[in-house]
Amino acid sequence: MKLRSATVGAIFAGLTLLLPGVQAQTPAASEAPNVLTGAGATFPAPLYKKWIAAYRKVDPAVVLDYKAVGSGEGVKRFLADSVDFGASDAALSDEQIAAAPRGAVLVPATAGMIALVYNLPGLNGPLQLRRDTYAALLMGRIPRWNDARIQATNPGLNLPDREIVLVARLDSSGTTYALANHLSAASTQWRDRGPGTGKTVSWAAGTMLVRGNEGVAARVKMTVGSIGYVEFGFAKHLGLPVARLENKEGRYVAPAAGVGEATLAANLARIPANLRVFIPDPDGAGAYPIVSLTWLLLKERYTDQAKAQALKRFVNWGLQEGQNMSSEMGFIRLPGDLIVRSQAALGMVN
């Protein structure tokens, strides 16, 4: 008996011994000339990871490592100068740019739609939500799915008599920022008597709080009667149903390929020269109401020129070739005009 448990112990010890072996190879890899480390938003992480994998074929000498830790943490690490590049779905504020030790250049890299995903098995159609309804819902003011306010816009749906379970982000998040920013523009209740705007906001008691876009998507997937918010790509990846939301012009729009591009294209004029825009409530009949750009944070002055050049080549590749991958993964392909402006911003990196 003792012997057997010792055997089991040995097997596990053997498994853990494998791990240092794996890690021991990493320093060898870092001897390659260009190892670029980045950290930040979870929202574009699937796309960035795909870019990194594809870019390895383009330029095998550059090794990129992106850690999806959330926008808040990404900005923190970027400002602490502990990464080569950061990523955030909320642009830096003026104070933050001033505080960046080596200067900050914000390059919009991709954009996404923030989808409200829900888990209602057996529901006979997509959910449609009015603006004040989804604001109230996310404030925790609608207790059950068969509430009259939800039924009003979904007359044909068999809404269950179930509690609504909210799933939100625990960590400091650009996705939360984009959602809260939109809701503050769309609902005075949310702005004045609700959580307001921020990378972390106060959620109602009983809200499940989890880390990362992938965490929210996974939690909604396993929790019956739940609703949460994620970048559309995550909903697509897990096959979660998304709600059709009422936009500024009173139309109900679901996130889908093409919708995000049309929304951005229709609102290009509203993007200011410094590219640090949040379109809290986009115009246009076909616009999806919650869209967000997401930024790569680069330094104005790099100490290592080889690193700076490699990073610039990678980002430039992402702005051109990389855009072809966005649509299928549930992200928005940036409009050509915006790409030109992103590339101009990239030119400021030295």
Binding site: V69, G72, E73, E163, D171, M208, R211, R219, M222, S226
Partner: protein, 321 residues
């Protein structure tokens, strides 16, 4: 007589005084043991000092309101861990109830001649294997097996007995009951193993005497074996509870991570360990002091549980004499 031991003139004796080497080895070993004990004490003190020291600013700022508060909102600098304390105690006690019952039953089954010894050894090994499964695997198993499995029963209970506070909400997914069930299985090997030792430590004579007086198998178990081994079994339960209080990974995945106090078995809750694990990765200095305060509270709860456990054991031992 400057020799340490008097040598008796016995020709055919195998007894000898210890040699110098043996004395050195003996002293050395004793010194090593002392060192070991001292190091453990030092480690505990260092831990308490480190955590306590970092918690002091938090304690000064939030005081007892931290323990009694129900809102955890870093945005408004409001930190209250009562829901987490509640969830920790509720899930652990529930797990102890379930895991304790089955653990002790298993110990009886495996030690009281229900099975041939070889087969019993196989079962024992299987139970011990449960202790070797990583926490994260238990968490995944809970998500993909336990939650779907108990959902029909939970829905039925909620619909028919929903007026009871325990079934007030419906089971949406992660929640207190799935967490407690998985926790019960995780503490089962500890409870079963220590209880088995306690039952096996009862002298054979005691059991034979019970049979000799005409007791049936069950009478012997319930009226003689269990009361005799009660102290050890109680120790097993305290150990199990201690483990349940501190379990982190599986609970972080299963408990629902929602700060609310509810009697309902099906509503999502939070535990101290899960709160710590989820908030530490990106905690700033302001939050670290609060989290350190929370870990101090968790340590205190574990300490109190152990103290209460050992004092009850002490009392029962004295009562038995």
């Amino acid at each position: 007589m400057n020799k340490p031991f008097a040598v008796l003139p016995l020709h055919d004796s195998v007894c000898q005084p210890p040699t110098a080497t043996q004395l050195v080895v003996d002293r050395g070993f004793r010194g090593l043991c002392h060192l070991g004990v001292f190091l453990i004490l030092l480690l505990v003190v260092a831990l308490v000092v480190e955590i306590g020291g970092k918690a002091v600013p938090g304690m000064q700022k939030y005081g007892t309101g931290f323990i009694a508060g129900t809102v955890w909102d870093p945005n408004q600098l409001q930190y209250g861990i009562l829901p987490a304390i509640w969830g920790t105690l509720y899930s652990s006690l529930l797990a102890l109830l379930i895991g304790g019952f089955f653990g002790v039953m298993m110990a009886i089954f495996l030690t009281q001649d229900f099975l041939p010894p070889r087969l019993a050894a196989v079962f024992r090994t299987i139970i011990e294997l449960l202790a070797a499964i990583p926490s994260v695997v238990y968490g995944l198993w809970g998500i993909f097996v336990v939650i779907p499995a108990i959902r029909p029963l939970a829905d039925w209970l909620h619909q028919t007995l929903g007026w009871l506070p325990f079934f007030k909400s419906s089971l949406s997914g992660p929640g207190l009951l799935p967490a407690a069930l998985v926790l019960a299985i995780m503490i089962l090997p500890t409870i079963a193993a220590v209880s088995q030792d306690a039952l096996r430590a009862v002298p054979l004579k005691t059991k034979q005497a019970a049979y000799g007086m005409g007791a049936t198998h069950w009478e012997a178990i319930l009226k003689v074996m269990l009361p005799t081994a009660a102290t050890g079994i109680f120790g097993a339960l305290v150990l199990g509870l201690g483990r349940a209080l501190g379990e982190t990974m599986a609970l972080a995945m299963l408990v629902g991570n929602s700060n609310q106090i509810s009697l309902s078995l099906f509503s999502p809750a939070n535990t101290l360990a899960a709160l710590l694990a989820l908030n530490f990765p990106e905690a700033g200095p302001a939050e670290v002091e609060v989290l350190m305060y929370a870990s101090l509270v968790l340590m205190l709860i574990t300490l109190v549980v152990n103290l209460v456990g050992s004092s009850i054991m002490l009392m029962s031992q004295q009562g038995a004499k």
